[in-house]
């Protein structure tokens, strides 16, 4: 625990850096007294046709995001494994191969059940 105060130093610096950045930009930004339609959401120059964008939308977007997260997590597991790959010898290789195989199986299933593509006709 002797040199654990480094952590607080790091934390303080992070907070300081964030606040300083915001303060600096607020200080040097151009002030203007008539902002006109600056806060209107930008939609190719016209007033947006659907004023509030918080409408309900299709399940397909959510499905695609889920499939993405699954394989994102898979790659995250690969990083630590790749770091100590040389010390794990054959055991590590087989272990990771099994892990990847299971996920490939999941990927093929998702592909076959057309979770990945945006169907052209109205589903």
């Amino acid at each position: 625990m002797s040199n654990s105060w480094y952590f607080f130093l790091f934390f303080a610096f992070a907070v300081f850096f964030a606040v300083a950045l915001l303060l600096f930009t607020w200080l040097i930004r151009y002030k203007r007294n008539d902002y006109g339609q600056k806060n209107l959401p930008y939609e190719c120059g016209v007033v947006p046709l659907t004023p509030n964008a918080r409408e309900s939308y299709s399940i397909r977007f959510y499905l695609l995001a889920l499939v993405f997260i699954i394989f994102e997590v898979e790659t995250i597991f690969l990083f630590p494994w790749a770091l100590i790959y040389d010390r794990l010898k054959l055991f590590g290789l087989i272990e990771m191969a099994i892990f990847l195989l299971i996920l490939i199986f999941g990927y093929v299933y998702a592909w076959r059940v057309t979770a990945l593509d945006f169907r052209r006709e109205i589903d």
């Binding site: 016209v46 945006f118 006709e121």
Partner: protein
């Protein structure tokens, strides 16, 4: 509870609407239900302006209609005025006009392949197309004095004869364009992503295309053999042999193939016209103050986008009573909504690019 369909505006300021066109898109998340084009953002009141200008003054104004095919607009207007006034254009001038018109068609198609590919994602093709087009613009600058809005023709003929330097530039273009086309085709024609984005997208049946009045490369891609240079030859096009490329599936990919083939045919016409250039005058005797007795005429020409027609009614003075322009993009745009049914929003961009519309001639 079914979710509400999204209504979004692919509005006047949009990188891939080729100018100031607004598309009110009603989409079920990604699938387009219907598209309502809103035009008029570039309406400059050309036809009203033409009623206050003399016949020769209108020629440079026609450059600003389809600003990618300035000489083709001039050709349509100038031929209509000559037919109305009964002016006989010397053979040499007709040949030079054919050379300039086909060069302008190649330049317009090069710009089109650049924009269409860039909309679909192949930005390098935009740079290929534009670097090649610079060669053509240098040629126009050498001959007409301007790059884009060239005012390249006159009523009764062409401004002046082809100088040796211009002929040499033309020979240069005729050899360098096919090499560049080969590069572009090597990049695109068998490219999996390009085919995935264009094959089977934006189909329209030939009968329906005629019903909507579609003309130009988009109609030929539907397999209908209709090219005014062949069907109603003007300005001695009948002297040259070239074939009219046709498509079969009438989708975005076929329109791409048709236009690329058309560029090669244009180069063939240019070489034939340059080799068989007859001697003689380059401009007929036209009175400086051109007064045309009352009458009316409608004449159309095969412009890069399709059939560009001019209706002119004269009233005996030096200013026309009425000039109406039939713009190919104006008519082609009407079947855009029909082509977009059931596609994704991303395909909208590919279909719009394949129609090669220009807002200058839609809005007049």
């Amino acid at each position: 509870m079914p979710y509400k369909h999204i209504e979004i505006s692919m509005g006047p300021q949009h990188p891939s609407t080729h100018g100031v066109l607004q598309l009110k898109v009603t989409a079920d998340n990604e699938v387009v239900l219907n598209v309502e084009p809103v035009i008029g953002y570039l309406h400059r009141g050309m036809e009203k302006l033409w009623e206050h200008r003399t016949y020769p003054q209108i020629v440079p104004l026609t450059d600003r209609l389809d600003y990618l095919g300035a000489i083709l607009n001039n050709l349509a207007y100038v031929l209509a005025v000559e037919k109305l006034a009964g002016i006989e254009v010397p053979k040499r001038a007709q040949y030079i006009r054919v050379i300039l018109a086909e060069l302008q068609r190649v330049a317009s198609h090069l710009a089109w392949i650049g924009f269409n590919a860039n909309d679909i994602g192949a930005m390098s093709v935009l740079l290929y197309g534009f670097i090649e087009r610079e060669g053509l613009l240098d040629l126009f600058e050498e001959y007409c004095g301007a790059r884009l809005t060239v005012h390249g023709l006159r009523i009764g003929g062409v401004p002046h004869d082809l100088t040796p330097k211009v002929c040499e530039l033309i020979r240069g273009v005729v050899t360098s364009v096919p090499r560049r086309l080969a590069d572009i085709e090597a990049l695109l024609s068998e490219n999996r992503i390009w085919k995935h984005r264009t094959v089977g997208i934006g189909r329209i049946a030939p009968a329906e295309a005629i019903q909507y009045g579609l003309t130009g490369p988009a109609l030929r891609a539907a397999g209908v053999r209709w090219d005014i240079r062949k069907n109603i030859p003007y300005s001695s096009y009948e002297d040259f042999d070239f074939d009219v490329p046709l498509g079969t599936h009438s989708d975005v990919y076929d329109r791409y193939l048709v236009r690329m083939a058309e560029m090669r045919q244009s180069l063939r016409i240019i070489t034939q016209a340059l080799d068989r250039l007859p001697a003689g005058e380059v401009r007929a005797k036209v009175p400086r103050l051109l007064k045309i007795p009352p009458g009316e005429v409608f004449l159309s020409v095969e412009a890069a986008k399709g059939e560009l027609g001019f209706y002119i009614k004269s009233n005996g003075t030096d200013k026309p009573e009425r000039v109406k322009m039939k713009a190919p993009s104006f008519i082609n745009m009407q079947c855009f909504e029909k082509m977009c049914q059931g596609h994704l929003i991303a395909d909208l961009v590919a279909i719009l690019g394949s129609l090669d519309i220009v807002l200058g001639e839609i809005d007049k």
